[in-house]
């Protein structure tokens, strides 16, 4: 455990040194602030809680940006260190390969959590500063949105580690990572939508729809944040969520599984790899 923390600490140190932490936090904060001010323009003062509007816009932002940031951080973690030659030295130390993977993962997760918390927190702070009343229900939704955004980041960081453990070159890992991002964030939903249109209004069995939604972590995230409460009415996601029979604990469990499985495989593959 001490080794895991040592590795995580070094990863965070590197992240602050090469400005990853600063850059991602500023990026998320900048976009979150923009969305929270622009996003309020169309709704005006129609009695919708402002933070709910922000949650909807930030969730959509998260789906695009957080997986990308997580993959950019993680795809390089194993294969990059191998290529630079630093992995060779590290593994000659009394440390297990699984400790290396988990330590790095923990470090990257901490960077993501920091960036999300402070980036999105800036948006909430701005809303309070402009003198809006925010109910406790909205605060809870906002907190769970941040927590699930970090969890979504964890999923894609774990997938990034898997590509990093499999790829023999950094550039290959980068290519695969971009492909994975495109697939889950853009292509998958379009294909799903296309399939629904092709089905011409025939009802898809609930079980199949559930499975298709659980098979994409970004959809799980979407259901989790946009499927209930004040946000569901705003995002029109409520329709899908009502149809699908997935409760929040199931969705969180699905995201946890999406994190642990790729991370486990990454460790397994890395342990068998010869330097």
């Amino acid at each position: 455990m001490r080794n895991v923390l040592t590795i995580a600490g070094k990863e965070i140190q590197e992240g602050t040194r090469n400005r990853w932490v600063l850059a991602t936090t500023l990026l998320l904060a900048g976009l979150a602030l923009t969305l929270s001010f622009l996003g309020s323009a169309p709704t005006g003062n129609v009695g919708v809680n402002k933070l709910d509007v922000v949650i909807v816009s930030l969730s959509s932002l998260t789906i695009f940006l957080v997986p990308l940031i997580a993959l950019l951080l993680s795809h390089d973690a194993i294969v990059g260190e191998m290529e630079r030659g630093t992995m060779l030295l590290l593994l000659s130390y009394p440390i297990g390969r699984s400790e290396v993977v988990f330590g790095k993962f923990l470090g990257h997760l901490a960077i993501l959590a920091f960036a999300t918390l402070f980036g999105y927190g800036a948006a909430a702070a701005a809303i309070i500063a402009t003198g809006n009343e925010i109910g406790p229900g909205s605060w809870q939704a906002f907190a769970s949105m941040i927590a699930s955004s970090v969890l979504l980041g964890a999923v894609f960081a774990a997938i990034g580690y898997l590509t990093s453990a499999v790829a023999s070159e950094r550039t290959t890992a980068g290519g695969i990572a971009i492909g994975i991002w495109l697939f889950f964030v853009l292509i998958y939903d379009m294909a799903l939508l296309g399939a629904l249109v092709a089905a011409q209004g025939q009802a898809i069995p609930t079980g199949l729809l559930d499975l298709l939604l659980l098979a994409n972590p970004t959809d799980v995230y979407r259901l989790l944040n946009l499927g209930s409460g004040g946000a569901s009415a705003l995002s029109a996601m409520g329709g899908v969520a009502d149809h699908a029979g997935l409760s929040p604990p199931v969705l969180v469990a699905a995201l946890a599984l999406w994190t642990l499985a790729p991370l486990g495989f990454a460790t397994l593959i890395f342990s068998r790899r010869e330097l």
């Binding site: 001490r2 080794n3 040592t6 070094k10 140190q13 590197e14 040194r17 090469n18 630079r84 030659g85 630093t86 060779l88 030295l89 590290l90 593994l91 000659s92 130390y93 009394p94 440390i95 297990g96 010869e274 330097l275």
Partner: protein, 304 residues
């Protein structure tokens, strides 16, 4: 003597390529061993096998009594390794880097920082990012991390490549000091020449096979390399009696006679030549160099 590293019948294959073939060797405490071979001869692979970074296809590797690939990691606390062309994270400073490695090896931070002085890394450089380091400074930092925790086995892969002569000397002083404390030091190198007088033992590898193993004197004796003797005659047209004693003498236009003489005939011949000192005006004896010795072993292996 106390055996620290043992390899028995070790082979390593990648697909169809055999990079190490049936190597058996034992390294002992307080011994300094040079592992010599061309680039790609299998030196680095042997070191990686000792570190447990790769597993042998056949055979057995033991370091301090443990299998380095699957055994207890605690053994690695007493193992120092300097990779060939060592690299570090560029953004961190030398101090941060060494602290990180010290934590992994459970070495006291204060004790670790004393190593900067020992390897001669200037105090003003310690807090600069590694990005700004020269090759020599990086090598010193690499050596510092290898020395963490007073290792019992030190594996150094081409440690002196890219070092200036002054640094090289202080490096070898450090090795001598460690040897006195009973550390096994394995140095790999692609040149035998610079190792003269530095090592107890030389292991020559070629194409993954250990073709020679012994002290430099042993190797010289085994190789039986001829000494080149050239004699400048005082008169051009004389043919001295010793010049037809079964050796092939060649004569150039300046009247210099030269021949290659095997070790056991060297002294009698010199005796004969110098017996009649009036005949000669100059005498040069060229002993085989370490490069000749190295080339000899590489040659004999090819013809085998």
């Amino acid at each position: 003597m106390n055996e620290t590293v043992k390899m028995a019948g070790v082979s390593k294959r990648y697909g169809n390529a055999t990079v190490v073939r049936d190597v058996s060797l034992g390294l002992h405490a307080g011994e300094t061993i040079a592992l010599v071979g061309h680039n790609g001869a299998g030196k680095t692979t042997l070191i990686k096998l000792m570190l447990g970074l790769i597993r042998p296809t056949d055979g057995l590797v033991r370091v301090l009594g443990e299998n380095p690939a699957t055994g207890d990691f605690v053994v690695r606390q007493r193992l120092g390794y300097l990779p060939e062309s060592v690299s570090f994270n560029m953004a961190l400073s030398g101090r941060e880097t060494l602290r990180f490695y010290a934590r992994l090896k459970r070495v006291d931070i204060a004790a670790a920082e004393e190593l900067f002085e020992r390897v001669g890394l200037a105090a003003e450089a310690v807090d600069r990012p590694v990005r700004t380091y020269s090759k020599g400074m990086r090598q010193r930092l690499g050596l510092a991390q290898a020395l963490l925790g007073t290792p019992r086995v030190l594996l150094l892969d081409e440690p002196t490549s890219g070092l200036d002569p002054a640094l090289r000397r202080s490096f070898y002083d450090l090795i001598t000091e460690l040897r006195g404390k009973g550390t096994t030091v394995l140095l790999s190198s692609h040149a035998l020449t610079e190792l003269e007088g530095r090592t107890d033992r030389v292991i020559i590898v070629n194409n993954g096979v250990a073709i020679a193993d012994g002290t430099l004197d042993d190797l010289r004796r085994i190789a039986r390399l001829p000494t080149r003797i050239s004699v400048k005659l005082s008169q051009m047209d004389v043919a001295p009696r010793w010049a037809n004693g079964g050796m092939k003498w060649s004569r150039d236009e300046d009247g210099v006679l030269a021949a290659e003489v095997l070790p056991d005939r060297k002294l009698p011949l010199l005796h004969d030549i110098t017996a009649d000192a009036a005949l000669i005006s100059g005498l040069t004896i060229t002993e085989p160099t370490l490069d000749d010795l190295y080339a000899h072993f590489l040659r004999t292996q090819v013809t085998k």
